[in-house]
């Protein structure tokens, strides 16, 4: 590596640090504002308080519970729908599989606002569905399914699973036995990374959910928008802090799982 007093290195370091400052600075401000008694007067003068966080739980606890519930339900649905698809795509003949993959990825290529509107136009008038939380669930599954499929598919392809499975088959293992003892354990790192991705995306989904939600089914990000528009800055900040406390561990775990999933094939 080049020596560190290289002017090019220093310029790069300063530049990257400034960009990092731009990205992290507001997050720090937000966290501080969430525990500051009075943001206008500053944290040093007005002191630290947990009162805003308490107020957030009074006002928005149902949104936090609903978002966690929807994220878990989305995870279950994408596992049930997505893992079999990834397996089938890995085994299916090339062109057909590519076509199916293309179709599957489409919901990600179209803005959530368009998908949300389309869902309302098609299903909004059907019985109680519109006001039920499963209406939001459908949107989230649509949007996150491609991530589960891709993440699982990548690991299955890298693990040379068809060959392993062929070996198991020649030893007399039936389809169910092969799926549970060969496919699932080998695809596990990809499924884990996909699962974390799905939960992270579902927890933060807003573009589509703003259309899909009703006053009875307000999710955390929709609640955040509500608090930014109508509450004091301190309450919006405290609410954001709650969201970050949920999100950041997921992001860290996701990074770890993604490294593990891509590193998997090189391990003995």
């Amino acid at each position: 590596m080049r020596p560190h007093f290289d002017p090019g290195f220093l310029a790069g370091l300063v530049f990257a640090s400034l960009v990092a400052f731009f990205l992290v600075g507001p997050v720090i401000l937000s966290v501080l504002a969430g525990v500051t008694a009075n943001y206008q007067r500053g944290i040093l003068e007005s002191g630290i308080t947990l009162a805003w966080l308490g107020r957030v739980f009074e006002l928005y606890a149902p949104t936090i519970a609903l978002s966690l519930g929807i994220a878990l339900a989305t995870l279950v649905a994408t596992l049930l729908l997505g893992v079999p698809v990834a397996y089938a795509l890995a085994k299916a003949p090339g062109r057909l599989a590519r076509l199916a993959e293309e179709a599957l990825v489409m919901p990600v290529a179209i803005p959530g606002i368009a998908t949300g509107l389309a869902l309302i136009l098609a299903w909004g008038a059907v019985g109680e569905f519109r006001t039920h939380w499963t209406f939001i669930l459908v949107g989230h599954v649509l949007f996150t399914l491609p991530f589960m499929v891709r993440s699982t598919l990548a690991v299955i392809l890298a693990a040379k699973l068809p060959a392993l499975e062929e070996a198991a088959r020649s030893l007399g293992a039936g389809f169910l036995a092969r799926f549970t003892t060969v496919v699932l354990p080998n695809a596990a790192p990809g499924i884990l990374a996909g699962s974390l991705m799905v939960v992270t995306l579902s927890l933060g989904e807003f573009n589509m959910t703003l259309f899909l939600h009703t006053p009875f089914t307000m999710t955390l990000p929709v609640g955040l928008a509500d608090s930014y528009a109508s509450m004091r800055l301190e309450i919006g900040s405290a609410y954001t802090l709650v969201f970050l406390v949920l999100l950041i561990p997921l992001l860290v775990a996701l990074q770890w799982a993604a490294d593990r999933a891509t590193g998997a094939p090189s391990r003995p």
């Binding site: 530049f15 606002i113 997921l250």
Partner: protein, 272 residues
Amino acid sequence: MGNDRLALVALVAPAIAFLIAFFVFPLLMMARTGASGPDGLATYLTILVDARYLASLSKTVLLAGTVTLTTLAIAGVAGVFLARHRFPGRRVLTAFLTLPLAFPGVVVGFMVILLAGRQGVVGTIAEALTGERLVFAYSLAGLFVGYLYFSIPRTVLTVVAAAEKLDPALEEAARSLGAGRWRVVRDVVLPGLEGALLAAGAICFATAMGAFGTAFTLATRIDVLPMVIYAEFTVGANIAVAAALSFLLGAITWAVLAIARTAAGANVAAAG
């Protein structure tokens, strides 16, 4: 063999049924709704010639384009720097640069308010320096900053991954042949990163075109396309136009991503 085929179809069937019911069918319904207004099918023509929608469309395309180019420049430099150098604190710097990776648009909008809103730090600093409070969060400039904020992290990740695959020997060779720093960047590094930059740029552009949460948080007066769709649907109750505009928006983002995927794919294949 036939049995295996059947098993594969059975595995895919639930997901396909789900997609048909909740994606294909709704999109068809939306296309039909777009033609259901007083203007009928001509609604699709109206949105392309009406001055208000045209202004919104061009503003959105221009904003997304500017955001994409700026993001590629910033994330390109930072990403290549991170890929090229090993130094203490590199992991922390990378973590900081990718922290807002999964922040929803609403949260990004709030970050912009904290930076440049009525109680923002930029305003406070500007007031201390010039005596005048600088507030630009609730305008197109605020939206631009917000879009940069959420585009930079994912683009940095893509660039780092691509730059680490580049062969440093090529740069050494160019340098030893007498090429200056800029020549090396122009003739060796940029061509090597072309596929990654194209793919990242397309995602950045498509996301900025359809992003809604940030604009929603900052102001309802910013008339980018997603905000116009929202206004037509909720306030204007002009559902046909909202559907037609959504269809147009979806077609644009889908086409941009598809073209970039084909181009980047061909690139990868050509590099062999």
